[in-house]
Symmetry: C2
Subunit: 338 residues, 2 copies
């Protein structure tokens, strides 16, 4: 019998989550039934959306049930299969959760997808060529819809989503401006990812200062904005949006702990005739094939760069996740399990 270490959610956070909300357990893997596949996880993805699922309150997603394995995207290798489509040794991406192994009902649509790791590193299927990449692709191309020569701004620009947004915008002939926390992340965004500029929000302690810095970085105003953060950053960007600007709301991490984050100037939506649209990429599965193809090609050819923060061992997942919520990661946060 093989032991499977798992992380469960055992309580809901009151405000900021802590490691006490999680518990590590060990279980024995059951024998496979027909149609099932046993996957050994190589990497677990940690993503901000998981914070929303820890709450009980109504959100776009079902809450994570208590005393169950935390949900999460995974890549790994098939070790045993009782499904004709999968064979031992196949590399697969799935939603295996915070555990070392997953027993997957492979007949369930979307449960597993075999991936080619010849030209694309397996971990990229959790980042630039996975959910974060498609999120960036969808929000930029379907909501921000930038034209060449326009200015696109993205917050959390060094993150798994933000980094892709800016690089795709550059590839489309736009001026790409990032917002990130700290000089290292800002330097990386400009020097390695090729953004035109990156603002360090930690240098700006109020709306006025941030908004002035944005004006300098975006001399022609802002046409498209990809929002991962919310709060003061959103307010500051709104003040600089051009008429008919488009804003994709993908994450509002600043409000995940339940504190109020009012939008200061909603009248700008009218005055500047803005369009704001919230989205979650799992509701737009029709966009995934085209997006994954483009992103995979760009990664394979070195045109799309990314960075990973890697924690080691399933035991490290809760701590790494709390760090992600505080912006301690640098690029895509992963947990390496093998």
């Amino acid at each position: 019998m093989t032991t499977n270490k798992q992380i469960l959610l055992v309580s809901r956070p009151q405000g900021e989550p802590t490691t006490d909300n999680f518990r590590l357990v060990e279980t024995q893997l059951p024998p496979l039934a027909d149609g099932q596949v046993l996957v050994r996880h190589h990497y677990l993805s940690l993503d901000p959306y998981m914070r929303g699922r820890m709450n009980e309150s109504k959100s776009y997603a079902e809450p994570q049930p208590l005393d169950k394995v935390m949900i999460g995207g995974t890549v790994g290798e098939v070790v045993e299969s009782r499904h004709p489509k999968y064979r031992a040794g196949d590399k697969v991406v799935g939603i295996g959760g915070w555990q070392q192994y997953a027993v997957v009902d492979a007949n369930q649509p979307g449960a597993l997808r075999t991936v080619d790791t010849t030209h694309v590193p397996v971990s990229a299927y959790l980042g630039a060529v996975g959910m974060p990449g498609v999120t960036a692709w969808y929000g930029l191309s379907k909501i921000c819809q930038p034209k060449a020569g326009e200015t696109v701004v993205v917050s959390a620009a060094s993150g798994a989503v933000g980094g892709v947004v800016g690089q795709l915008a550059k590839a489309q002939g736009c001026r790409a401006v990032g917002i990130a926390g700290g000089p290292d992340k800002c330097r990386y965004v400009v020097e390695e990812l090729g953004f035109d500029a990156c603002l360090d929000y930690k240098l700006h302690h109020d709306l006025k200062s941030l908004s002035t810095a944005l004006k300098d970085a975006c001399p022609d105003g802002i046409d498209g904005y990809f929002e991962n953060v919310g709060g003061t950053i959103l307010d500051a960007v709104m003040l600089r949006m051009n008429a008919h600007g488009r804003m994709a709301l993908c994450g509002l991490i600043s409000g995940y702990n339940g504190q109020p984050i009012p939008m200061q100037y909603p009248q700008l939506i009218l005055q500047s005739r803005l369009t704001l649209q919230g989205f979650i990429v799992s509701e737009h599965m029709e966009a995934w094939p085209a997006a994954l193809k483009e992103l995979g090609t760009m990664v394979a050819s070195g045109k799309l760069k990314y960075r990973e923060s890697i924690a080691h061992g399933i035991e490290s997942a809760p701590e790494a996740f709390l760090g992600l919520l505080k912006g301690k990661n640098f690029g895509k946060q992963l947990v390496k399990l093998i």
Copy 2:
């Protein structure tokens, strides 16, 4: 020589506007030049957007210049023409401003439009078959995009725009729910305009109360919202929006005097995957012909109802305008000049 009474804007309001911001003057009409038309105004339109133009600050429209005739839509009759397209006696709609007569350069595109008053009363061209009607038509059909069976909510529901929004929504098979101030307006909205329900916001003194009342009036949630007001009403509606709801922002009258009107729960844009879009109808001239045709047909056949508040004489315009900003009007606010 004919005397022309005019109302000028002579100072910008500090907070709430007063009659002191305006001045009545009398001028003599100049002789017409080639290509000009002299129009005697029958009705002047008063509209909330004028409040925005009184401010100096950046908005979607140029500020109203000081010491010039206040801008405004007008209908009237051609009394003299030096343009081949217009003849004395023609009924015309234009943007003649707050004055008894206008000398119009008729070659300027959109300056004048001849209207048929056989089946549609001339004043309707300032309301249901004019800018307010097209505003309602555009925001509803292009932004809210309701499907039969969905629920559409509109604020300022007894007003020139709101009344048309609800009737168009009903004609499309939707549930139409209004928000208005006071029992008389609410009764009118339901009994005369045919909305399914109308909430009196004056009965609800906080967000919770208003939001609960909306829940009762919209048991299936809200799919499309047409916003004329902003502030607490906007917050309350956002709490009741269904996933993928569409919100057309047409007016935010609650913030016109410069007071802050933060949006309390912008995270709902993400959680409910909402689309918010601000618009001004003068930027969508391509939509006017189809809209005017539909609205004119509906008014002529009695399928689109409206109400007018009529002030008499150009001298009454400032007072009537201030009343409009406070919701004292009931239906389309006009000034009858003849």
